[in-house]
Amino acid sequence: MENTALKSDAAVKVEKPEPPILPMSGADLMPVPRLPKITRQHLSSAGIVALSLTIGVLLWHFVTATNLDFYINFENVPSPLWVFTAFVGHVQTEIFWTHIGVSMRRILISYCLAVALGISIGLVMGRSRIARAFIMPYIEVIRPIPAVAWIPLAILMWPTEESSIIYITFLGALFPIVLNTLHGVEQTPEVLVRAVQSLGASRWAVFRHVVIPAALPSIAAGLAIGMGVSWFSLLAGEIISGQYGIGYFTWDAYSLINYQDIVVGMLVIGFLGTASTAAVKAITRPMLKWQEKTR
């Protein structure tokens, strides 16, 4: 016999069936491919982004074309067209790509170090009260120090220019990753720890199956923030460098009073920062698949 009692509310969350399509005329019976709603939403938000950027560039053009001087002075600010022309010119040179490549390599090395160390420190601090009390004062004191302030000491401490730049960049990424990991670990629901303990989980299994997954959303946020911060620390670090890097390129343009190149450098940094943050988000997303279902 069928056990009906157990299946009482089994149907509660099953998707609703498609409403039946009532045939009105022959034409309506034709299979019409419909765009899924999500695509339409994406299109409209992409449209808004495009509109927003267009307005921004137009405004920029307007204030530079009219040499607007209304408290803020735009007289010496290069126009979008000027910047664009400079950009196209640089794209054709090898040195420009070297700048970008060198910067990206520095970001990659610093960021990977920060991720490995930051997550480890955060996890240890989250699980051990002693470790937390021991490490926290250093984090509190060092975290507010801006990357630029580290330049002299970094030069004195590290054997090569490259290592001091990587150090400064690494520091920028480290703190958001540590703090977000710590925050995530602290948010582990106690009931879940208890539940798996009564299922026979060892300390390590509790860590592996409860603490880390519970902290993942917060860790992922820390990773994305850390990536953004590492780019603006990089710029500070590259002031040290006498040769390559997109930060160096921008700083050099300033020294040479090459206004349009300053803006080219700034925009390239902005773009690379955005792209790499998006890459981090794309990499962490599959690990948070369960969260999408929660909403």
Partner: protein
């Protein structure tokens, strides 16, 4: 009618005679010095193997604390809890736990949640998987194995919680107001299916609730607890025929048992109230 056991059930034989609980002169105090708070006053309980016992009491009376001591989450300040003559020192898979809040791992699918215990017990992936399927089928949710807990209703999640606890073939099933957060209709349904599962399994169940009807409907014995500090003030034997269904609520025997519990609770609350005002 209840369906006849059709799944392979080694537990029936192995857990026979297992699941005997002895709460021996247990008292539980939280904090120390000035902040010390007596949660459970010296209490002794004997629960036979295979018995269904409800601990009934008002909110905050210490009934969950007592259950947590059996589970091993809380260590008694004095006395000891023995399950099958072994002292309880920490949580373990021999005592399955079902919580009031949803306690499934939200990042694991329903299937992975149920397979978790067997995996921890060292079973292979395949063995754990087939155990998970057996128990999901038992609670009627095999079709939902690939869903995440958040995609299920509250009642379904609690059924997964029961399946997960049973998948370790525990000798004792500890339930801490498991249906407290459900709506009335779902709760009735869940109570019936719990009895059905218990009937198949014969595991000892200790079920904590503040709902008199729930306690009387489910239990062989209802242990009524006083308001804080908690202690057992009455041990009521519920001699109603099994299998039970919701129609039972209209029988005179049920009404009598229920009335007795209510009167006991009322007398106790009056006493507690007068104590406070004395």
């Amino acid at each position: 009618m209840l369906d006849v056991v059709k799944f392979k059930d080694p537990s029936r034989e192995t857990s026979k005679g297992k699941g005997q609980i002895k709460v021996d002169e247990v008292s539980i105090t939280f904090g120390s010095g000035k902040d010390a708070h007596l949660a459970v006053e010296t209490t002794s309980i004997d629960i036979k193997a295979g018995e269904f016992v409800c601990i009934l009491g008002p909110s905050g009376c210490g009934k969950s604390t007592l259950l947590n001591a059996i589970a091993g989450y809380v260590n008694p300040t004095t006395g000891a809890v023995l399950v099958d003559r072994t002292k309880v020192e920490k949580p373990g898979p021999d005592r399955g736990m079902v919580f009031q809040q949803y306690s499934l791992l939200p990042w694991k699918t329903v299937y992975e949640n149920v397979a978790f215990g067997p995996k921890m017990a060292g079973h292979t992936r395949t063995e754990a998987g087939s155990t998970a399927n057996t128990f999901l089928e038992l609670v009627g949710l095999k079709k939902f194995g690939n869903r995440y807990p958040a995609e299920l209703s509250g009642g379904m999640q609690q059924r997964v919680g029961i399946a997960r606890a049973l998948a370790n073939y525990p000798s004792v099933l500890l339930m801490d107001e498991p249906f407290g957060a459900l709506d009335a209709q779902t709760r009735l349904m869940m109570q019936e299916s719990l009895l059905d599962i218990w009937n198949k399994f014969g595991t000892t169940v200790v079920f904590v609730t503040h709902d008199v009807d729930e306690a009387v409907f489910l239990a062989d014995r209802v242990l009524i607890m006083s308001a804080a500090p908690g202690r057992i003030i009455e041990d009521v034997k519920i001699d109603l025929p099994r299998p039970r269904s919701t129609n039972l609520a209209s029988t005179p025997e049920y009404i009598k048992a229920r009335q007795f519990c209510l009167d006991t609770i009322k007398a106790e609350s009056r006493r507690a109230f007068e104590d406070q005002n004395a």
